[in-house]
């Protein structure tokens, strides 16, 4: 199948060492830690950058860099991907290990979760073994104390021999102390007396032997003890990295490796053990050490440390209620969005109408030519007005609620609930997470697919990400569901609209699974690889911060992008409407050309045209459609959804048209940004093309079946 690293984007993620310092004197800090320990939050608190954070493992998949100044010294912070260990050679681990090992950071800050210290210490011990300038940051101390878990940080510092700082990064607590501690460590002003993990005697002896060999071959820059241990443990990827980042003679290095092999074989024979047992012994020693340290410093005042979490999990993931609750929650989110967005949308829309009137007056006043007024006001401004009034309110409601769920820790539970179905589809369980990200933005969902290790399963997740509606498509779905399926008035209209959208989403998930399975059986053959998902502790969401964050970081970002694209698109459409060949406008000409095909799948030429013109951003499909229809007939003031309905009905829409448009919106080519992201992630034109054509064909087939069936039955 040619699933090489090159073809699936691993090459993209591995360019770690592009560290951009502001000056050569910058102190470089690497942030390492288990997934989901709040590393990104620490990073944000240190640097003031706003990297998106959420309560699920594997959020940081690329290396973010940021800067801060402390006591007139510049610091560069590199956020490494979350890992459980440095021994297993997943892509994330390689990146983290190579940076700590060869990237020469001045200080490594290991971020750990106070509510789960023992597991976190495993990685901390491995890092301390590799580098002595370590600061252990015990984060989430607030969550720990809420769970009645006490950590004796003084004792911990004493045992590990490195400085410890307790933080509650979300409230910004302990960050100043962390900066101070990092400064001291970087300047060598603290006593570091790093703990040593004691391995079995035969291992320690072999390490000594290997170290001797290393001295002969490599320069002193590298931690020889650590390297000896890992070479003994047989680590092919580390060997590759050494060759890559060190200027050494291949022949000499291979000689070293063969000597290591000899030493290993001798010891195996001598102790009468297998290589597997040797490796296990190394891991066991580290984990046992972590366990004993944890026992000494962690005091829990309750018998069941996470009893509330367990109770919540028993409901949220239960056999009986797990899935109904999930769908119910989604339904509530959409209901609130639809209900809440109605009024502000109408207000915004009438405001833009008024402004448009004012602008027209102004253009008349300065005697501007008609074409200029048409292009700028009727084309650009009107499209902008529609994009903002249709998109902004639902986004401003949907994003904060969605972020709330993310912050709470619900998304991994969704993955847990749905994993079985993804497994049946021969896909990866984490695809449920990337799919959830797709609800926000498919481009973000595609990037999130990096959390999936196996190239095959990652490609499946990338190609199918588009089957869940992103935020650019929700307004289309919401508007159509509201005006055609629910009717604009009536007591239950918003509930009916919610149900319609829920149905669309469930269908989207179903199609995701179906296509994943189809891909697994055809062009991406293979069996699902191992799936290990951590269900992190629930966290109390910070409502205030979430609202601010999600509005500024997400809502305005997505809106800004839509506006950037809508403005030129508005002009293009106006020109297409008003430039005529043989008395037929270019737009009508194109629409007429597309019409026969579009009719077959329950749409019309203008709708299909709007989808094609909407390629740069899905958000503008409805605005384009409105402009096209309005240009055909009398210009009406569109101040409410009722009038929108009238406009569409006058142009031959039935409920079937609305359903097919919704279905096509759900299943068609990804937007330009997403396609570009897919190209960047996969590094392959072929997979980008598949990502384009597979949803499109699916959409055509689905719409064709629905349209033809309904017509055949004569509804």
């Amino acid at each position: 199948m040619g699933l090489t690293k090159q073809s699936t984007g691993i090459s993209v993620a591995s360019n770690v060492f592009n560290i951009e310092k502001n000056s050569d004197d910058d102190i470089v800090i690497a942030l390492a830690g288990n997934p989901n320990t709040g590393k990104s939050t620490i990073f944000n608190s240190l640097t003031g950058l706003k990297q998106h954070t959420g309560n699920w493992p594997g959020k940081t998949v690329t290396n973010a860099q940021g800067y801060y100044n402390y006591n007139n010294q510049e610091y560069t912070v590199v956020d490494l991907p979350g890992t459980y260990s440095l021994l297993s050679n997943s892509l994330e681990e390689e990146i983290a290990r190579d940076f700590i090992c060869f990237g020469n950071p001045d200080v490594v800050v290991v971020v750990s979760d106070a509510t789960c210290l023992e597991r976190n210490l495993n990685l901390a011990l491995q890092i301390i073994e590799l580098k002595k300038e370590v600061v252990l940051c015990v984060n989430l101390i607030d969550e720990a104390s809420r769970k009645k878990i006490k950590i004796d940080t003084n004792k911990l510092s004493e045992l590990l021999g490195v400085p410890i700082v307790g933080t509650n990064a979300r409230e910004g607590l302990g960050i100043e102390e962390l900066k101070k501690c990092v400064e001291k460590t970087a300047l060598g002003k603290v006593n570091i007396n790093p703990i040593k993990v004691n391995y079995e005697n035969y291992i320690e002896e072999s390490i000594n032997e290997i170290e001797e060999e290393i001295y002969k071959t490599l320069d002193k820059n590298i931690n020889s003890y650590w390297l000896a241990l890992h070479l003994l443990n047989e680590n092919k990827s580390l060997e590759e990295s050494i060759k890559k980042y060190n200027d050494i003679d291949n022949y000499e290095f291979d000689l070293l490796i063969s000597k290591v092999e000899n030493i290993r074989n001798n010891i195996l024979k001598e102790c009468n053990i297998t290589k597997l047992e040797l490796k296990d012994s190394i891991v066991s020693s580290i984990i046992t050490k972590a366990e004993s340290i944890s026992k000494e410093v962690v005091k829990s005042q309750t018998k069941e440390m996470h009893s509330f979490d367990r109770k919540l999990d028993n409901v949220l993931t239960s056999r009986l209620f797990g899935i109904p609750i999930m769908i119910g929650l989604l339904g509530i989110i959409f209901w609130i969005t639809i209900k809440g967005a109605n009024y502000p949308s109408a207000v915004l829309s009438s405001m833009f109408n008024m402004l448009e009137g004012q602008l027209t007056l102004a253009f008349n006043y300065i005697n501007a030519p008609d074409w200029l007024h048409g292009m700028l006001v009727l084309g650009m401004f009107r499209t902008l007005g529609w994009v903002i009034s249709v998109m902004l309110p639902p986004m401003a409601i949907f994003f904060p609620i969605f972020t709330l769920m993310e912050d709470l820790g619900y998304l991994p539970r969704v993955a847990f609930n749905l994993d079985y179905y993804f497994k049946k589809a021969c896909a990866h369980g984490k695809q449920a997470l990337t799919m959830c990200m797709g609800f926000g933005c498919n481009a973000a969902g595609v990037v999130a697919c990096r959390i999936i290790d196996s190239p095959r399963e990652r490609l499946i997740a990338i190609i199918t990400n588009n089957f869940v509606p992103c935020n650019g498509r929700f307004p289309t779905l919401i508007a159509l569901a509201t005006i055609f399926i629910a009717g604009t008035h009536g007591r239950f209209s918003s509930i009916k609209a919610t149900l319609a959208i829920l149905l669309a989403i469930v269908l989207g998930v179903y199609i995701t699974l179906l296509i994943s399975r189809l891909l697994s059986k055809t062009i991406l053959k293979g069996m699902p690889t191992s799936f290990i998902l951590e269900l992190p502790p629930y966290r109390k969401p910070q409502v205030g911060k979430i609202i601010v964050r999600s509005i500024f970081d997400r809502t305005l970002f997505v809106l800004g992008r839509a506006v950037m694209i809508a403005a030129p698109a508005g002009i293009v459409i106006w020109v297409m409407q008003n430039v005529a060949i043989n008395d037929i406008s270019i737009l009508s000409y194109c629409a007429n050309f597309l019409n026969p095909f579009a009719q077959m799948i329950g749409l019309d030429g203008y709708i299909l045209m709007a989808f094609i013109l909407g390629l740069p951003a899905n958000e503008i499909v409805i605005p384009i459609l409105i402009m096209s229809y309005m240009s055909k007939g009398a210009l009406i003031e569109l101040e409410s959804l009722t009038e929108l309905r009238t406009l569409f009905v006058n142009n031959g829409w039935t409920w079937l048209t609305a359903v097919c448009t919704m279905l096509f919106s759900l299943n068609h080519f990804p937007c330009g940004t997403t396609l570009f992201t897919i190209y960047k992630e996969t590094g392959s034109k072929k997979w980008t093309w598949y990502s384009f054509i597979i949803p499109t064909i699916t959409g055509i087939i689905v719409c064709f079946i629905v349209a033809q069936t309904v017509r055949l039955l004569g509804f």
Binding site: L87, L320, Y420, G429, I532, L535
Partner: protein
């Protein structure tokens, strides 16, 4: 008294200690990373709506494992003390 079973057969709410991981490849390494070395206490917490995967408490963390992985973990159930 103690008996050996695979982790996927550990009833909900029950505890046991890791005796052996029978896989020899990547899965083994990943399981070890989670701290599943010999004698680690594992508790079966809850099962997902479709019956698989199952969530386990391992060293203070909650980890979901599919049957495909948990069948590689041999667990020793300790009798009543």
């Amino acid at each position: 008294m103690s008996k050996l079973i695979t982790l996927n057969n550990l009833p909900l709410g029950e505890k046991g200690r890791v005796f052996k991981i029978t896989d020899k490849g990547t899965t083994r390494r990943r399981l070890l990373d989670l701290g599943l070395v010999k004698n680690t206490l594992v508790k079966s917490l809850h099962v997902s709506p479709a019956g698989d995967p199952t969530a386990y408490e391992i060293r203070g963390a909650v980890i979901a494992l599919r049957e495909e992985e948990s069948q590689y973990i041999l667990i020793k159930i300790e009798g009543e003390e």
